[in-house]
Subunit: 435 residues, 2 copies
């Protein structure tokens, strides 16, 4: 694999003046501003964003973590058609309820389509189209990670409330309610693992089912002031729920007034659907007696692109991005000396050598960068690296010319600077990077 160099990464810095006319591009959150300014994303239309190379790298790490956990619970990956016949949504009664949030269009034959925001109807039809298959084929868990569309009345916070976004949606099919409940609980555990792997604290609360429906529902949240949901947590009994469900005066479980209300950004939502979709759309299976019965369903969403933005929102400083280690575009950046400096000649190839040593550490292959723009001062490159939020910034400076070279290692998370030998540096990175 070739080495990664900053000069070869497209990352246009676009500083947005503080008092700029924001009519074209409403800046409504810190993460949105930072990601736009630092070339992680670019706005295409209100609520629609291009993911630039660094943004996509982070996103692909979230996808990889998700795929890994899905394979453990035998989630099978598919891609469902985005263009969906409007009639399908009429059958389930969802067209009326969600009308205004749906992007709708006609094809050249004047047939009505919509761009899917979620695909309960589609995947249920997939099952009913093949006719009832044996009970032996279940549980069945189909998922996809694809672009979804929602005509938000007020797109905001960048990727957090976008009109075009990347969502992971899994749909489960079981032969009875008991198995569906087991699936529901297995999937919730698997979501816990995904969020633990991402590494940022989250809360899991009872949720409201909204227009998706069903009997049980859980939400996963990152806590942040700009979060649009209010979450109640009871200090007495530990009960936790969205206040839409619990009210916000006392704990609905133990009646304690000793409660805590905080704001949350919803990053995942799980639903035990029952037969809300399988019944009207006739998705059945053959039971042990060979008779068709209606399938029981669940659905499980994760806001893949929203997680990236929400994590940046929660962790960042006002002028500097911070990432969870597991989903940072890169973990380590090496800054060689400025062109023409005293150090430049005597440290030739030192950064390349260090790069090779670091990429052999666990999980670090392809997660290192060299900032080879040596016409710029170390100071200038250091400030940029800090703003973009690479966890470890290594400076090849004066101490690198000593007999036993010492490297300046900056750990942005712990906010410390050290001078270490190569082997000390390797140990430090290995011990402190969390995956």
């Amino acid at each position: 694999m070739m080495k990664n160099y900053v000069s070869r990464i497209f990352q246009p810095f676009t500083s947005i003046p503080k008092h700029a006319n924001t009519s074209k591009q409403e800046i409504t959150s810190k993460s949105q501003r930072l990601m736009l300014e630092l070339g992680i994303i670019q706005q295409a239309n209100p609520g629609c964003y291009h993911l630039l190379p660094l943004g996509l790298r982070s996103l692909e790490k979230i996808i990889k973590i998700t795929d890994g956990e899905m394979s453990k619970i035998n989630g099978q990956k598919v891609v469902l058609s985005t263009l969906v016949n409007k009639a399908l949504w009429k059958t389930t009664g969802r067209l009326e309820e969600t009308q205004s949030e749906l992007f709708q269009l006609k094809d050249r034959h004047n047939h009505d389509f919509l761009l899917c925001p979620t695909q309960e109807e589609t995947v249920t039809t997939l099952l009913s189209n093949i006719g009832p298959i044996s009970y032996k084929s279940f549980p069945l868990r189909l998922y996809q990670i694809t672009s979804k569309f929602r005509d938000e009345i007020k797109p905001r916070f960048g990727l957090m409330r976008a009109r075009e976004f990347i969502m992971k949606d899994l749909y489960s099919f079981d032969v009875d309610l008991k198995s569906a409940q087991e699936t529901y609980s297995e999937l919730n555990d698997s979501y816990d693992r995904i969020f633990r792997n991402i590494g940022l604290d989250y809360v899991k609360v009872l949720g409201t089912s909204g227009n998706i429906g069903g009997s049980i529902s859980h939400e996963f949240h990152y806590q942040a002031d700009i979060g649009e949901d209010k979450i109640l947590t009871c200090s007495e009994c530990g009960y936790s729920a969205n206040t839409e469900l619990s009210g916000d005066c006392s704990c609905p479980k133990c009646k304690s007034k000793n409660i805590n209300i905080s704001s949350g950004i919803e990053i995942a939502h799980t639903f035990l659907l029952g037969d809300k979709y399988s019944k009207p759309l006739k998705a059945t299976f053959l039971n042990i007696k060979g008779k068709p019965e209606v399938l029981q369903m669940g659905c499980f969403g994760i806001g893949i692109s929203r997680i990236m933005a929400a994590a940046v929102e929660v962790m960042s400083l006002e002028q500097e991005i911070r990432w969870p280690d597991a989903i940072a575009p890169f973990n380590v950046i090496i800054l060689p000396p400025k062109f023409g400096s005293k150090e430049e000649q005597s440290t030739k190839n030192l950064s390349e050598k260090l790069y090779t040593a670091i990429e052999n550490l666990p999980n670090l292959k392809d997660n290192i960068l060299i900032d080879d723009r040596i016409s710029l001062t170390i100071g200038r490159r250091f400030l940029e690296a800090k703003r973009i939020g690479y966890r470890f910034i290594i400076v090849i400076g004066k101490t690198s010319t000593e007999n036993v070279p010492l490297f300046e290692l900056n750990d942005l998370k712990l906010n410390i600077q050290m001078h270490l030998t190569e082997s000390e540096l390797l140990c430090y990175i290995k011990d402190n990077l969390i995956f």
Copy 2:
């Protein structure tokens, strides 16, 4: 990684009766019929398909090959917004030309959008939005592998002419025409490597630029009778071109009448665009003197989902799919004996053991399946495996109970059956699988 079992793969067989009413689902090609029947894809609407687990596995292999080659030429991966402002396409004059093939829609504010079939306008605007950056940042090569949309007047041949399809599109930016030509030639070489890696014979011909435009254009084709393009190849001088460009009577280069006309399925198309988009959309860079100049562009498409269908079309038999080894959903399937048979007890765990041995061969990790549906006869499972087209079908039969177990190895490509010891079998697979 867990082992792969057939019982855990969602692959609904739906046989389509020969004289079925095809009004709902027009079957227009062998690959479309086989992929529908064998549960590789399912039709959602005319020209829109769901990719089921086996289909997506094949697609992801094509994507991996493409990503690998793109990284060699410093192609940087992005995701561009699918919803694009119609006004952009007016600026370049393409709205009029392609109107009828575009899916168009309005958002809730009555703004006009289209679903991108290709993104020259979008990516050029991405560059012009950031203002001119230094000549040092070029060449720049941005690419994505995403769903695209085209309201085909006659969707047909399944994924080969679909209304929703997965395309890889790369856009190159250079500071002058000479560099753009070098990029063009580098990209064409890289496409050659991609198609060599896929492993199916292809032809590369001079192409027509159509509504995308530009001065040079090449097309890559798989040759097949149902191909919609006609390709001329000159037996005298080797010149090769789409007959739209060359006519079809004689070689435009050497005037020879000794020519060959064949049908081709276009799987990739490259264009040297020049300033067709960068000029009207004002995408500029700063030259060495600090003055803005218009960028020179190229664009390079690969029909990712079309390649899968076209390869199946070219290689398959009338009733059995065949895949190029490099993009087959799996390469090896192991069939353990039927439940209750004599062999069943004495060969316990033999298939699991063999699986482990095979997955340690180069490139075979996660490319093996065990057909664990042992309530079915070997014969039934064998026929299914043959129809789906797994290159190597291993039967754990009578000869597996011998002192030195012999396995029945069927090589579908060479159409031979052998009885081999474990080590012979491993050698055979290793030597004959082409990646």
